[in-house]
Symmetry: C2
Subunit: 368 residues, 2 copies
């Protein structure tokens, strides 16, 4: 193999494929990046068995070939090279030379025969969405996936197409996050559960540019994200995702309109007192024009008051402040609706005008 390419193009591709390189593995080949120069072009490939990434690099290919290089040293070398043309040469023993200006590295490579190619994903079923939009939808839901693997299906997020809406849903024991976007789809119904790790990594690769799209292909086993220069393939989680809609009651006895930032700041302060002992929640007291937030532990006590608009009953209810903070942090609206039935049932956080997001938070029982 022999080729030249631009350092910044190469670095972009390296940074992309690094996201699917195993750092702790018993299969040493998984710590490698595969460099593949074919008549079709030059690409880097990584695969940690759950997630696989291919990234194309514009290159002048002088001789085709393949080599597997340890990702750690290869990526560090590329990062530190001058911003100029890079020449990569691989001999028959996979001894690899990387040259740039007056800098020259020689490192050993491997044949790449053991390297696991990405699974082939049939391209029958696909949707297209702006990269920015997908990135936002992940950011606004990913925090409430389950971290413990008691129910593995909950360590992923549901991607669901239903009635021309794309829904992304995450659930753990104490909360649910839903983000919707309108969507013209050829499918009536489609549901896949994508591992949280995949979504975390892909949201780092997605562009913030609203103009750029990502095409997503689905099979029963895999999901494939196709970007301008890269494709990302992930296995899907198997199992039944909970029917999340049953958790959201349409009835409520108390509806509060509140300034999001004030609520977040107040809960954030109240959490200073409550967090030391996890059993001490924050208490919300909802009256006609105000919400009072209090917490009381051996550390001290805190009292916060916020102006609100209220419909329906007065209420006292207690929560783990972390769940509120996580949800409020990702909401961009100035005002939100909080919907309650009573002190034993969840609070639902909703958009004031619209239906883009819904967060459900289970309360903590308080002794009356």
């Amino acid at each position: 193999m022999r080729l030249t390419c631009d350092k910044l193009d190469l670095l972009n591709a390296v940074n992309t494929v690094l996201k699917a390189v195993s750092t702790r593995t018993t299969l040493p080949i998984l710590e490698c990046i595969l460099l593949q120069a074919t008549p079709e072009g030059f690409k880097l490939i990584s695969n940690d068995l759950e997630l696989g990434i291919e990234s194309n690099v514009k290159a002048n290919i002088l001789e085709t070939g393949t080599v597997a290089l340890k990702a750690k040293i290869f990526s560090e070398i590329v990062k530190k090279l001058p911003d100029n043309e890079v020449e990569i040469t691989v001999d028959n023993n996979y001894y690899t030379t990387i040259k740039c200006e007056k800098s020259k590295f020689n490192i050993s490579g491997q044949s790449g025969e053991e390297f696991l190619q990405l699974p082939k994903v049939s391209k029958d079923q696909s949707i297209k969405i702006s990269q920015f939009n997908l990135r936002e939808m992940i950011r606004q839901t990913i925090f409430s996936i389950a971290l413990e693997e008691i129910r593995p299906i909950l360590t992923g997020e549901l991607l669901e197409i239903k009635n021309n809406t794309l829904n992304i849903v995450s659930i753990d024991v104490h909360r649910v996050a839903i983000r919707k976007t309108d969507f013209n789809s050829e499918f009536d119904n489609m549901m896949v559960v994508v591992p949280g790790k995949t979504l975390n990594e892909i949201s780092k690769i997605l562009d913030t540019d609203e103009e750029k799209d990502v095409t997503i292909y689905f099979t029963n086993k895999h999901i494939l994200f196709e970007l301008e220069n890269s494709i990302i393939v992930s296995r899907l989680l198997e199992g039944d995702f909970p029917k999340y809609e049953q958790f959201f009651s349409k009835d409520y006895d108390t509806l509060v309109k509140i300034n999001k930032k004030e609520l977040l700041m107040s809960i954030d302060r109240a959490a200073l007192i409550s967090r030391e002992s996890k059993k001490n929640p924050i208490k919300m007291t909802i009256r006609d024009n105000s919400m009072v937030i209090t917490s009381n532990t051996e550390l001290g006590d805190v009292y916060e008051e916020i102006d609100i608009e209220k419909e329906g009953n007065e209420l006292e209810i207690a929560f783990n402040p972390k769940y509120f903070i996580d949800a409020l942090k990702v909401i961009d609206d100035d005002y939100i609706h909080l919907q309650f039935t009573n002190s034993h049932n969840p609070c639902i956080i909703k958009q004031v005008d619209g239906d883009e997001y819904k967060y459900l938070i289970v309360p903590i029982r308080i002794r009356s």
Copy 2:
């Protein structure tokens, strides 16, 4: 005690005194900040026995008094309060109320009787220097203090006044860093050794504004830094600091003028190959118009070439790259001089025109 003050003024003072709060200590009072409201004003005090800080806060004092509050919770509360007027009230049981807008915290305090006041430092001997200058001098030398306490005196830096020059010097086994600044002093000679921790903390407090000065007072036991709103007192290290000048030979057999950035980048890349095994240094080969840097380990090998101007002999010499990287990173000049005698003797890094800094690095023996 009862007073009002501005949240940002209070926060600045809290952030300053936090730098002398113990986090791991057997004396719980050292985890506290002392709040002291006297007819002279309101101040916060912290003291970890090595370092003590007092910081004044502009306040409207309604009732004088003193209270010791746990630094962790007090600082977190102040940080998260709205940016507005804060009211602090302490009752006879040291129960402390902190109010700001519609937010109110109650936390328990202590009497502060056990709190160790800062040592009194006589103000006979003082020097004045710009805060920016002192900050830079610390930044450009602190990295080469000894981290291990085999010779405790080397865990500090020498502050020396000599012939109208202020020198700051740090030494560990393999290197020396010297930073000088011209200085009109009343003293002929003065030497103190200040703990590295003190200098690290004070450099975070010093202003980047070249117009603002710091006054430094010395006694045999203590050093006191006086800033606009704060004073910092530190104990000094006792013992004999090595006579550092003996390490710097004026003779040399090879003098190299080299671009600092190119040298740093090349060594930084070469270190990728050498760092994996600490026994593998980088080798410099100095010829008429070029310096070649190489390293060769089980990971691979690297070859870097840099244009230089050279006077004197050709030379092969080997170093731990870290020591070069540390020194080159803090040098702001475009070109530097490297001065060598032979492959067994240290390299001295100097300013091309001037005498502001000198770094000495001991080589690693190479088998010929």
